[in-house]
């Protein structure tokens, strides 16, 4: 029996197919197909989420492949976690598809863009609904593919094409870890079904080195997809894609897939404190590092990209310190306000035509809707109560504080401070002061501002279900009846609010009151400034080591192939020819020589003998007579 959740991913797939095959005729109408499809999925998702909230669940599968007589399933499963993701993906997805109608207006490959978006939605929903590790891997790669296509959407631009490739390859590195993780997990436990990954199963294999390795490898996948250190380098470059794509894929949904995976496998990671430790450390390092990079970026999308990396690091850290609901909560709130930030940035780019903040400034008058929605998002991400970001960030900080990892806690606090600072910096540089470039900005059309407004409400309100005001309804829902202990820690709350305000005040002082100060700071602390601006030279380091090494190996392998292996083959051939030449010589002068010598001798002898043959008949007669005489004399003995 097929239940309606099956259609949640299938509707966007149908939309993709329709646009691919009929896009030529549909043209502008392709957008409507995509919008309708995503809206339909959204409605179905909400219905499914509602059912799950009532305590229901969905599970449906069929056998896809047999591995050594163990069946691999393919199916859909909806539990609270995937219900949350479904809601986030379809809701934000629909808004962004609508937004794209305005943003991609007049693009020559308009229809194709919506085809990709539909394909992405299909893949992402498939990922969220996956019931096994193998299936999630399958869709994991598919979303990566969509990301590749969409980053390189304007492929005529060399940088865009290269960014797409970089994203795909970097993700592949993580995915190989993920893949090996699946294989090892399969052989360690005999299952890849999420439904089987329960604490009991993991405890049965407690202390297993293979399972530890497996957990680490699985985390590699998340590191790649969620752009965690050291595989974070692809995400800033991914900003080459159209802005709605950055919002949907590289901020709200796809990059969160890594977090989703870790949350999905939480029982596994939780059972191995060492692995959790690694996750927490990587998350914290990423959060801190990316926030540091974001401080000095001048490209509006790059700031947001590093901010995304930083926030993803936050979530990872939360999961690492045991805050499964905290991380997921932040995932959801972040999806809203970061999507809003990107769409707002898109609106700014669309309205002003530039992406560099050096050219902007004072846009709040010409783009009021964009400005006010952007303010909402900034306040949300900076963690000002009661906006969404405050609740989720606060919960993460509480988790970190309670876990006892003091360094992680303070690092996250520092990150929060920097986050608040760079976000307000962005806001002030873009919307306040005077316009620095020669721009003719205008407000974006309604089709773009409407999603902004909706998301602004979302950013303001989406945190409430997880707040103490609603008795942590969200966390209880997610934990499905096993609520985690959620304490309110007044110390942490104070610190959290203080950092947010401090960030705001610093930014205000530096970029509104005394705009000449930043340059002087940059000069004075040039080491820090350059390190941040150049992102610690990590890209250059990779270029010089891993990529350089890779290219060298490849080149040398080819040289080896041509100069050693193929040379050997050719040498064997040539040597055979040389040997044949010698044999030929022997044959010609010795073997054949002997034959010729025989003939020559016979000829020489017969040259003498032939003289007897005169051809004159009388000579013959004379010889005949002589012969007769000889016989006669011989007979008669004379």
């Amino acid at each position: 029996m097929v239940t309606y959740p099956v259609f949640i991913p299938l509707i966007p797939l149908a939309s993709f197919a329709i646009i691919v095959f009929f896009g030529k005729w549909l043209k502008e109408k392709s957008a409507w197909v995509a919008i309708l499809a995503s809206a339909a999925s959204c409605v179905l998702s909400l219905r499914a989420a509602w059912t799950v909230a009532q305590g229901g669940s969905f599970h449906q599968s069929f056998n896809w492949l047999m591995i050594n007589n163990i069946p691999l399933e393919f199916g859909i499963a909806i539990d609270p976690l995937s219900a949350v993701m479904l809601f986030v993906v379809t809701f934000i997805g629909t808004l962004i598809v609508i937004y794209s109608v305005g943003y991609m207006h007049e693009d020559p490959r308009y229809a194709r863009f919506f085809a990709y978006l539909s394909l992405f939605l299909f893949s992402m929903l498939g990922l969220v609904l996956s019931s096994t590790l193998v299936q999630i891997y399958l869709f994991w790669e598919l979303v990566g593919l969509c990301s590749y296509f969409l980053i390189g959407f304007w492929f005529e631009k060399k940088s865009a094409a290269e960014a797409g490739r970089k994203a795909f390859i970097t993700n592949r590195i993580g995915d190989i870890g993920f893949f090996l993780g699946i294989v090892t997990f399969f052989y360690a436990t005999g299952t890849v079904r999420f439904a089987d990954i329960r604490p009991e199963l993991i405890h049965a294999h407690a202390g297993s080195a293979v399972l530890t390795a497996s957990a680490l490898l699985l985390f590699c996948g998340a590191v790649g997809k969620s752009a965690q250190f050291p595989l974070h380098v692809w995400l800033p470059d991914a900003m080459e894609g159209p802005t709605p794509v950055s919002a949907l894929i590289h901020a709200a949904t796809m990059v969160a897939a890594g977090i989703y995976l870790v949350a999905r496998l939480f029982p596994l990671f939780h059972a191995f404190p060492d692995v959790s430790q690694v996750i927490a450390i990587i998350g914290t390092v990423t959060a801190l590092m990316a926030a540091f990079f974001a401080l000095t970026q001048m490209d509006i999308k790059k700031v947001l990209a590093y901010s995304t990396i930083s926030q993803l690091g936050y979530m990872t850290a939360a999961l690492g310190v045991g805050g499964m609901t905290a991380g997921t909560f932040h995932l959801m709130t972040h999806a809203f306000f970061k999507a809003l930030l990107f769409l707002g940035a898109g609106s700014v780019i669309h309205g002003s035509g530039v992406q560099d903040m050096n050219e902007m400034g004072g846009l709040r008058k010409t783009m009021p809707i964009t400005f006010w929605t952007f303010v909402m998002a900034t306040v949300a991400i900076a963690g000002i109560p009661p906006f969404a970001g405050f609740w989720s960030k606060d919960e993460i900080l509480v988790r970190a504080f309670e876990s006892g990892h003091r360094i992680i806690f303070w690092a996250l606090v520092l990150t929060a401070l920097m986050t608040s600072f760079y976000m307000f910096r962005l806001l002030f540089l873009t919307f306040f002061g005077k316009t620095r470039g020669h721009l003719h900005p205008h407000e974006s059309p309604l089709v773009m501002t409407l999603p902004l407004i909706i998301l602004a409400f979302g950013s303001a309100l989406i945190g409430l279900p997880g707040s103490p005001w609603m008795h942590h309804w969200f966390q209880n829902f997610l934990a499905a009846g096993h609520p985690e202990e959620i304490g309110m820690n007044s110390f942490v709350v104070t610190i959290s609010i203080a950092t947010s305000v401090a960030g705001f005040l610093t930014a205000f002082a530096l970029y509104v009151l005394k705009p000449e100060l930043p340059k002087r700071f940059a000069k004075k602390y040039w080491v820090l400034y350059e390190a941040s601006k150049n992102k610690l030279w990590i890209d250059e380091f990779y270029q010089a080591t891993v990529i350089g090494w890779f290219k060298a190996v490849s080149k040398n392998a080819f040289v080896f192939d041509a100069e050693v292996i193929d040379r050997t083959v050719n040498e064997v051939g040539l040597k055979t020819i040389s040997v044949s030449r010698i044999k030929n010589w022997i044959d010609q002068y010795i073997v054949d020589g002997l034959v010729n010598l025989t003939g020559w001798t016979v000829r020489k002898i017969s040259a003498v003998l032939r003289l007897i043959q005169t051809g004159y008949i009388h000579n013959y007669l004379f010889v005949l007579l002589l012969g007769l005489l000889v016989i006669v004399f011989a007979v008669f003995n004379i």
Binding site: W64, M66, L138, A161, I169, F558, V569
Partner: protein
């Protein structure tokens, strides 16, 4: 009526060849028509065969058995089972599609299609024979037309490539012949029958020697590192349709030989050589990937990618688990579809631009949108994107090989990464980036060319989404083979 379907498969192309030889020179359309009809009939018969094939049975089906040379105990013995059925289908399909793709050949058309059909007879015969003598004959029958097809209709260095291919493969088949004769004389009563030979158990050292001899013959054909260098040369010089058959079918004859001859007849030796084959496989996977990345010539890159991908077949053979064996056999089929498609695509581009230098292109996608999309689709299949067929077989092989050779499996994963690297690099250089103004008048792929590619894409997608459609044919036979192997190895 009882139709000897397998004989028809083998000899229909030969009939076509004779008909073509009767047609006067110059009537190109008639010649093409005959060749297309002959290959289409073979394809039709193969589909009929697939429909009539009993998927639950592990043994030989549609067997044809007749005495041929009584004194030597040689039989005309044909049959099909799960191991060969997919290769038969791949041969028929690619044979037909490459024939359609051959319409571009305008020079010496009569000879071309005559040789082409002879080649198809040889390929079909190789996959269908159950008698080593017959197998060897068909194996050699493949060589001769291939030599001429490369040597006459090839590129600038065609003579070199053709002779290299011919001599290299011939050297391999010499060893193979020795192996076959050794089997023949060491079995009482003397027989060439493959099924009969599986029942005997030879001593281990004898098995090893024969295995090694056969290995050379098969390894050169696959080609397994370090016997692979004929492949890039032959591919680069061969005309497009011939490259398709070379990559799609001829390479598989080597791995098929392992499945059909080496493994069932010499199980202990196969087990003994397993680790070494695994090592060669991993070297091939990684090394082929690295070398492919360094290529500037499109076709050469695809050729080296074949070395890498065929490594997975060998890796699957090296371990004796059902997943890996099924995966290896499936990989043979998938690689035929994917690489066949890639070579067709290279040909499409070459026909228009007359160069294969990847750096010479750039931004072609905006000029050839359909072509670009198809190229990306098939490249994605080749780099193992889930949902397309390449992933399934590589996944199965790796899944199957992990419990046996853990580190080799991990090393092979680098090959997957490399595939992404070189294929995306290719896509970037050819399709993406700013349009090279030189190609601003490039026409998009035409209907005939699309026709040759669509069936391949359908199979790539279908097997990728639902692998059972292919696996259901091979499962029982592989199980049977593994059962046989397990019994022999344990003994």
């Amino acid at each position: 009526m009882h139709l000897p379907i397998l004989s028809c498969l083998v000899f229909l192309p030969l009939v076509g060849m004779i008909l073509i030889m009767l047609v006067p020179r110059g009537r190109d359309n008639l010649i093409r028509g005959i060749a297309t009809i002959a290959t289409a009939l073979v394809l039709g018969l193969t589909i009929k065969l697939l429909a009539a094939f009993d998927q639950t049975q592990s043994g030989m089906q549609f067997v044809e058995h007749a005495q041929w040379i009584r004194e030597l105990n040689v039989f005309y013995h044909l049959g099909v089972d799960g191991i060969s059925i997919l290769m038969i289908f791949a041969t028929a399909l690619l044979g037909f599609l490459a024939c359609v793709a051959s319409f571009g050949i305008t020079e010496r058309t009569k000879e071309y299609f005559a040789l082409y059909l002879l080649l198809e007879t040889g390929m079909m015969g190789t996959f269908l024979s159950l008698d080593l003598f017959l197998f060897y004959i068909f194996w050699e029958v493949v060589l001769v037309p291939m030599y001429f097809l490369i040597g006459v209709w090839g590129g600038p260095r065609k003579e070199y490539a053709a002779i290299k291919f011919f001599l290299y493969t011939l050297a391999g088949s010499m060893f193979m012949l020795i192996g076959i004769l050794a089997l023949y004389f060491n079995h009482t009563p003397h027989t060439f029958d493959m099924i009969e030979l599986t029942k005997n158990s030879f001593a281990l050292y004898f098995q090893q020697l024969v295995f090694l001899a056969l290995f050379f013959g098969f390894a050169i054909k696959v080609p397994i590192f370090p016997f692979h260098t004929w492949l890039p040369d032959a591919h680069v010089e061969a005309p497009t349709p011939i490259s398709v058959l070379l990559a799609g079918v001829l390479l598989k004859m080597g791995t098929y030989g392992f499945f059909r001859i080496s493994y069932p007849i010499l199980p202990q030796a196969a087990h003994w050589f397993g680790p070494y084959m695994g090592v060669l496989a991993v070297i091939g996977i990684v090394y082929g990937g690295f070398v492919a990345f360094a290529q500037k010539d499109f076709k050469k890159m695809v050729a080296y990618s074949s070395v890498s991908h065929m490594g997975f077949v060998l890796l699957g053979l090296a371990v004796f688990t059902p997943a890996a064996m099924n995966g290896a056999l499936l990989q043979m089929f998938n690689h035929a579809m994917i690489t066949g498609g890639l070579f067709l695509l290279v040909g499409v581009l070459y026909d228009r631009a007359h160069t294969r230098e990847m750096d010479a292109f750039g931004g072609v996608w905006s000029k050839m949108p359909v072509y670009g999309s198809i190229l990306i689709f098939i490249s994605l299949a080749s780099l193992g994107l889930p949902g397309l067929s390449g992933f399934v077989s590589e996944f199965m092989v790796l899944m199957g090989s992990y419990p046996v050779y853990r580190w080799m499996t991990i090393a092979s994963c680098i090959g997957i990464l490399l595939a992404a690297a070189y294929l995306l690099y290719m896509i970037q250089r050819v399709l993406l980036g700013p349009l090279n103004p030189k190609w601003s008048r490039l026409p998009d792929i035409n209907k005939r060319e699309i026709f040759t590619l669509v069936p391949l894409m359908i199979f790539i997608l279908a097997v990728g989404v639902y692998p059972k459609i292919a696996l259901q044919y091979i499962g029982p036979s592989i199980e049977h083979l593994l059962h046989l192997l397990a019994g022999k190895i344990a003994a």
